[in-house]
Symmetry: none
Subunit: 430 residues, 2 copies
């Protein structure tokens, strides 16, 4: 008598690799997997990191298998001696490893494409526990594996995120989703710039507090991230339509309470939002940046299709480059200093004109750790945005490391561009 | 008969809190603890994250206690119902909780200082498993706890890093260090560009294999990271001088075996190494980049002091910007296409001249996801480096997302700059 198997309700994740037990690396695969599991309505109960040590991995895996319906292991599928995941899973489950000739052929072909022969050690990656399903890996040599253990499911995924993610997405769609229960987690996020965490909390507490006991109950999390505050709303429900409607209504009330500072209500990043505004307005953008050192341009060009509205830009680390490439008068720099509102304004207006863009941005500041003065300490940044309606300029003082100051400067500049385009569009509509 | 207890050799860390099982937050306390444990010579064998669920925490704790000499729990010491760590530890160890009047008085005093009375729920934080040592918390209301379980040690620490870190440092100095063995961990890292993981493994296997059984034994880990392969060597030894000498000798032999592809022997990043070479040579650099969109400039300017050698650069997303800002002849683009070796060469030479730099870099390619053609698919990137000794150009084809292709392109360009400067320096020395 075989009915349909019980739904998968709980999961544990085991990340394998001694490097993940050091002080330099963090397992980020489990963040992606946590999201994916939530969307399947599978509750993540615990996660573990284990080094490349056979006995440790064996006991951690055995114990996870006792507790969870689904055990996901990431990493340790490489070709070298310290890649133990296949061996340990085979041993704990009592399923002998057998070489799969199709995998050998695949790996040989991958190397041949690059004009290389397959090193002998890569044969290890073709070993498969008896009865396991092989999961193709178009982005690397290590195939994944899926093993049914009674009603439980064990999935082995490669460690590199670009190999792990698409592989898990395929397994989720084909195997896990049909075995998940009716309830799913649903989520919306609101991103806020220009307010502190406690000011966001204060503004929206009267809205979110009653949601915790609504039907379906909505859980609210407020997190401070670099340059933005994030509000996450999560509902667990068996009724997708009801969940979407409740979340949309809560989101809209929160966005209204926060006003212009809420820049994203669908999880899109600041650079993505700014890109969308530029595209919708048929506008283009050009950047002259000093202390942010190319990061602002790099964030703008991270968005697919950005070549439609990014004209380009100049990273002007030296004063003569500011003059030669963004038409900043040398006398202006001499009079006010390179880090000043007049120079930021000249950079924004100069690059806008030179690159024939709708919007020009100028960023000049002191990213540190050296270069600060008593009147202009490290973290002082002047930002200007030049648009058809005129130029806006402001000076901000950020705290943090060099990398953080670069990030905050780029985030503030993007936020000023966002507010400028929105204001100009409102003026045109008005 | 009581001798001195056995040294603490192995540790596990358990982070408690449902928020650490979501997709937005990562347990970073364990990175700090990993470093501290390594400096004590205590081997971190595994770490776990568990939600606020009594039975899950109990089994994970019980299992850690079976494997490790030292179990550190962080979080779950707050005053609310979902703060379970104290209760679960007391239950698993069979040590009843008793209220400690001194802690109650302490917490009352903390609240009184802010003109508040202690909420009743905070009494929970004064419950102590019988026989446990209380660890003062000058930065918060939750005291830590230390329990000796036979020769094993269990430490409970609060979750907030500013409370956890100083508390652990005091416990390490007073209790753990005297119980740690004489041996400590030492480490060196070698970073490699331009070779696959298996080809690095093949080249150095004869060197590292015997190290595993040398005195002191050296453990080797080979990792593939985006755009580079990392070789980490770790020694556990009671003799610091011997460990440093053995690691230095192993590192030197591995660097010799890998040759020019080994770009860093001290853990410094590619942009840091390139910056050092430029600075040492008294050289400057300028960049004209298209598909990498500012990322190459941003990586160069991530290094403190880079304003000494980064002249600046241009992000030329459109053809007319390439012509106007890097003197690329429009006819050359028309003839060969924007993504071509002649255009990359003209960008490198043009920006070098225009910005009066020692080294010029040109990067042009297709980052995707759109824009590919059958002859120039997404991921095709032409990179040129112009130096006093002449210009080098190559075309590479990368796989991956837009962000990955940007990263690989910037990494390859930096690596070409590195090899060019090293070669030119060798010519001058020769």
């Amino acid at each position: 008598m075989t009915g349909s198997p019980a739904p998968l309700r709980s999961a544990e994740i085991i990340a394998v690799g001694s490097e993940l037990l050091g002080s330099k690396r963090v397992d980020t695969n489990s963040l992606f997997l946590a999201d994916e599991l939530a969307s399947l309505g599978i509750s993540l109960r615990a996660k573990a990191v284990v080094g490349d040590r056979r006995s440790d991995l064996a006991t951690v895996f055995r114990q996870a298998l006792e507790r969870a319906d689904l055990v996901i292991l990431t990493g340790g599928l490489g070709p070298t001696d310290d890649d133990l995941t296949r061996d340990v899973v085979s041993e704990v489950l009592g399923l002998p490893l057998e070489e799969d000739p199709a995998i050998v052929a695949d790996i040989e072909a991958r190397f041949a494409k690059r004009g290389l022969r397959m090193p002998a050690i890569n044969r290890r990656q073709a070993m498969v526990p008896r009865g396991a399903t092989v999961l193709d890996n178009p982005n690397g040599s290590a195939p994944g594996l899926l093993v049914n253990v009674g009603e439980r499911v064990v999935v082995l995924l490669p460690g590199p995120p670009r190999e792990m993610k698409p592989m898990f997405e395929r397994v989720a769609a084909s195997v896990l989703s049909p075995r998940a229960g009716r309830e799913r987690f649903y989520r919306v996020s609101i991103l806020v710039a220009g307010r502190s965490e406690s000011h966001v909390e204060e503004a929206i507490q009267p809205i979110y507090a009653p949601l915790a006991t609504a039907v379906p109950p909505i859980e609210t999390t407020i997190l401070a991230a670099p340059g933005q505050i994030e509000v996450h709303l999560t509902a667990l429900s068996g009724d997708a339509e009801l969940a979407h409607r409740s979340l949309a209504s809560a989101r809209d009330r929160i966005v209204t309470a926060i006003g212009d500072d809420a820049f994203s209500a669908d999880g899109r990043s600041m650079e993505d939002i700014v890109g969308g505004l530029l595209r919708d307005a048929g506008s283009t953008i050009a950047v002259a940046e000093s202390c942010s050192g190319g990061l602002l341009l790099s964030r703008l060009t991270d968005i697919p299709g950005s070549s439609a509205y990014v004209r380009g830009g100049v990273v002007a680390y030296s004063n003569d480059v500011k003059t030669a490439f963004a038409d900043v008068p040398a006398a202006l720099i001499a009079e006010h200093g390179a880090v000043s509102e007049p120079v930021a304004t000249a950079m924004a207006e100069g690059i806008r004109q030179r690159m024939d863009a709708t919007v020009g941005v100028g960023v000049t500041g002191i990213a540190g750790p050296g270069g600060g003065t008593p009147t202009k300490p490290v973290g002082t940044v002047a930002i200007a945005v030049a648009a058809p309606s005129g130029t806006t300029v402001r000076t901000v003082r950020f705290n943090g490391s060099r990398a953080q100051i670069k990030h905050y400067a780029s985030q503030s500049a993007l936020d000023m561009v966002r507010r400028t385009i929105a204001r100009d569009a409102a003026v045109r509509r008005g």
